[in-house]
């Protein structure tokens, strides 16, 4: 007997729904067994997660705060994934975006909020685009593997950040601690509705709409989808894949760079050592789970935010250690991603 996986030609809608529902159910069951073995009631634990993610206006707002950078970075990587170009450097691109935004605040501070913020956004977008563009160019010119280059560029971005916060940008009044001066008021994205959700959320909705149109309603989107599906066919049709790679990587990095600016201007208000674009890698899972559909990624990012919030809830409400919370998160993602496999492949059992 042999197991064989063959690709489904098309998966009907009911099948997609069923596999998703089933894999979520399996995920919760497996997680429940794990929680039970930890000596915690699974029902109480899931209730705690739900309550702390969606239980009140405050909880919803904090889930959204977690989801915001995830959603933006997932839009960024989604674009390149559609073309089967693996930009996994969202984290690093967001970092240089934040760096560029901080540089503008340091060297060209202006009092007007709209002017200051647009300058920061512009700088962040170009820096992020440039960072990813390097990998795009290397790929286009010499076919250098972009998975390696984007990943390595993440580390360079991290070291760059450290160089600046420990070195030339260090706040002299910080007693030597590694952080820049607090941003001037004009450089802070206003927060909304008395929560920590900032103006970046409008940009997110706008970007999502733009990406939805770009990917599914324009010639550009059509071309990169064809290139993703069948690069050879695209070449025969006269599409210039290599030129597109640079463009796609640039836009992808630009969006990630913008996410970095949102994080540093909306939440942190200064650059400090250990700054992270927050879940730059998790955003890759979000992009994948939303089947590379921009509009869907809004929902998936929000659910992922809830899962992340749940990790804290399990520690605070149920007294579980961090590791248990992370195992539970991992289990749930494992089953949900596993379900994806069965959507795309049919498993056959061959006798003999």
């Amino acid at each position: 007997m042999r197991l064989r996986a063959e690709k489904r030609i098309d998966s009907p809608a009911w099948m997609t729904f069923m596999t998703t529902a089933l894999s979520v159910l399996l995920a919760l069951t497996a997680g429940g067994v794990f929680l039970y073995l930890q000596g915690v009631s699974p029902f109480a634990a899931y209730a705690a997660i739900l309550k702390s993610a969606f239980g009140s206006g405050y909880d919803l707002s904090e889930t959204a705060v977690k989801a915001l950078p995830l959603a933006i970075v997932s839009l960024a990587v989604m674009l390149s994934f559609t073309m089967l170009v693996w930009n996994i450097g969202g984290e690093g691109q967001a970092l240089v975006g934040a760096l560029a935004a901080a540089a503008v605040v340091r060297y060209f501070p202006v009092g007007s909020k709209p002017a200051m913020l647009s300058m920061m956004a512009l700088a962040a977008v170009f820096a992020g685009g440039f960072w990813a563009g390097i990998a795009g160019l290397l790929k286009a010119k010499w076919n250098v593997n972009e998975i390696i280059t984007t990943l390595m560029l993440n580390y360079i971005a991290m070291r760059l950040l450290e160089y600046f916060v420990y070195g030339p940008w260090r706040d002299p009044s910080s007693l030597g601690f590694p952080m820049t001066k607090p941003f001037i008021a004009a450089a802070r994205l206003p927060s909304l509705w008395g929560t920590r959700i900032h103006m970046g959320i409008y940009a997110l909705f706008f970007l999502t709409a733009v990406m939805e149109i770009l990917l599914w309603r324009t010639r550009f989107g059509y071309e990169i989808r064809v290139m993703g599906d069948n690069a050879r066919a695209a070449r025969y049709a006269g599409m210039d894949c290599m030129k597109k790679v640079v463009g796609v990587m640039f836009i992808s990095g630009a969006i990630a760079g913008f996410a970095g600016m949102c994080e540093v201007s909306g939440l942190q208000g200064r650059l400090q050592s250990g700054f992270s674009a927050q879940y730059g890698y998790t955003a890759i899972i979000v992009a994948w789970l939303s089947h590379l559909r921009p509009s869907l990624s809004l929902i998936i990012a929000f659910l992922m935010g809830a899962l992340l919030v749940g990790g804290e809830a399990l520690q605070i409400g149920m007294g579980l250690p961090m590791a248990s919370a992370q195992i539970l998160q991992g289990l749930i993602l494992f089953f949900v991603l596993g379900g994806e496999f069965f959507q795309n492949y049919r498993v056959r059992i061959d006798a003999g």
Partner: protein, 365 residues
């Protein structure tokens, strides 16, 4: 006459209202069962070092105050993600007291404290205070200095290695105190520093330790959150001085000693003050006198004369007869920074950004 009576009355009222106001600012006593202290940790409790020791302190405090119910959150990043953690401790767990266990939480503690004026925050190792925010730390440089005396006596080659987390004043003053100790017992010895740029990274810590051993160091000291350096030293049969806790379990034969924390001595009085309603915002910086920091028991390799020397110096530090940062102290270029007979002020020690003579390595500029 009338005027002066009015004056007296006025002054009296001003005093009285001031007095009443200051009573209002001092929090009312809180029953122990309702304090629900929340502890925000930078690493996992299982790090075998920094967070492990904070949690040991928490356990001891819980045991000492029957009815006290504490909650911990591990591995909380030093960014905006720490904000909802503190808020949830307050909102869900009704925490009246939050201990934020690492430097990078500083701005976020400030932010949350503004929003929740009825909760008391104690920030470990920071310098920003508010009406409901105090700071706390230990004078770890005292046992660091003592451990330096040991290292100076034990080294044969005069090359001592130091695995250091971040180039920030806390770490720099420890390296300096250690080196002062080393050079007191071994004037020609040097201390070579490798930066990790991380508090918690066992892989990097071990690699740094190996690199130092390969470059000829025969005693290692370390400032990071885990026992990885001690493990590497044991494997290479190199003497090692731990940090945070007695790390002899990681290096049974090679462990000399370790400057260690006793967080209970820091946490416990705060819980007591909050319960009594006597807490007020201040900068706590306690040393060996208060028991907040100490030196771990000596390993088998430490000779008797060194033990005696350390005991004598320790007694002098506790009695206040001697301070670690007393001149003459030269910097790396040989310039005298602290003159003979002078002692550095707490502010200068707190913000130290330069290395003393004998340190090999540099503070990134």
């Amino acid at each position: 006459m009338k005027k002066s009576v009015l004056h007296v009355l006025f002054v009296f009222f001003v005093f009285f209202s001031f007095f009443a106001f200051s009573i209002a600012v001092n929090a009312a006593p809180i029953p122990v069962a309702e304090i629900n202290p929340g502890y925000v940790y930078i690493g996992p409790v299982g790090d075998g070092g920094w967070t492990y020791m904070q949690d040991e302190g928490r356990r001891a405090v819980d045991a000492a105050f029957p009815g006290l119910k504490s909650t911990i959150v591990e591995s909380v990043g030093e960014g905006p993600e720490s904000v909802p953690v503190m808020e949830r401790l307050i909102r869900q767990n009704k925490s009246k007291l939050i201990f934020a266990g690492s430097f990078g939480y500083m701005d976020y503690v400030e932010e949350v404290a503004k929003k929740y004026p009825d909760t008391i925050f104690m920030h470990v190792s920071g310098y920003k205070r508010a009406d409901n925010v105090g700071t706390m730390f230990g004078r770890m440089y005292q046992p660091r200095y003592l451990s330096g005396l040991v290292a100076g006596k034990v080294t044969q080659s005069g090359n001592i290695g130091y695995v250091a987390a971040h180039p920030i004043p806390e770490v720099i003053r420890m390296i300096n105190a250690f080196t002062l100790g080393v050079r007191k017992t071994n004037p020609g010895a040097t201390v070579k520093v490798i930066w990790l740029f991380s508090w918690f990274d066992p892989g990097k810590e071990k690699e740094a330790a190996k690199a130092l051993i390969d470059s000829g160091c025969d005693v290692l000291a370390m400032h990071a959150d885990t026992g990885a350096v001690a493990q590497a030293a044991e494997e290479a049969k190199t003497y090692v001085i731990g940090y945070n806790n007695d790390m002899s379990q990681y290096a049974p034969t090679m462990h000399l000693t370790a400057p260690i924390w006793d967080w209970e001595k820091l946490f416990s009085p705060i819980v007591k003050q909050v319960a009594d309603g006597t807490w007020k915002s201040e900068a706590i910086w306690w040393g060996m006198k208060e028991g907040a920091v100490d030196l771990a028991p000596f390993g088998p390799a430490v000779p008797e004369d060194v033990r005696k020397l350390v005991a004598a110096e320790k007694a002098d530090i506790i009695s206040g007869k001697q301070a670690v940062f007393t001149g003459p102290i030269k910097d790396q270029s040989g310039t005298v920074k602290i003159k003979q007979g002078e002692t550095m002020s707490d502010d200068d020690i707190w913000s130290m950004g330069w290395f003393v003579e004998g340190v090999l390595g540099e503070v990134p500029k």
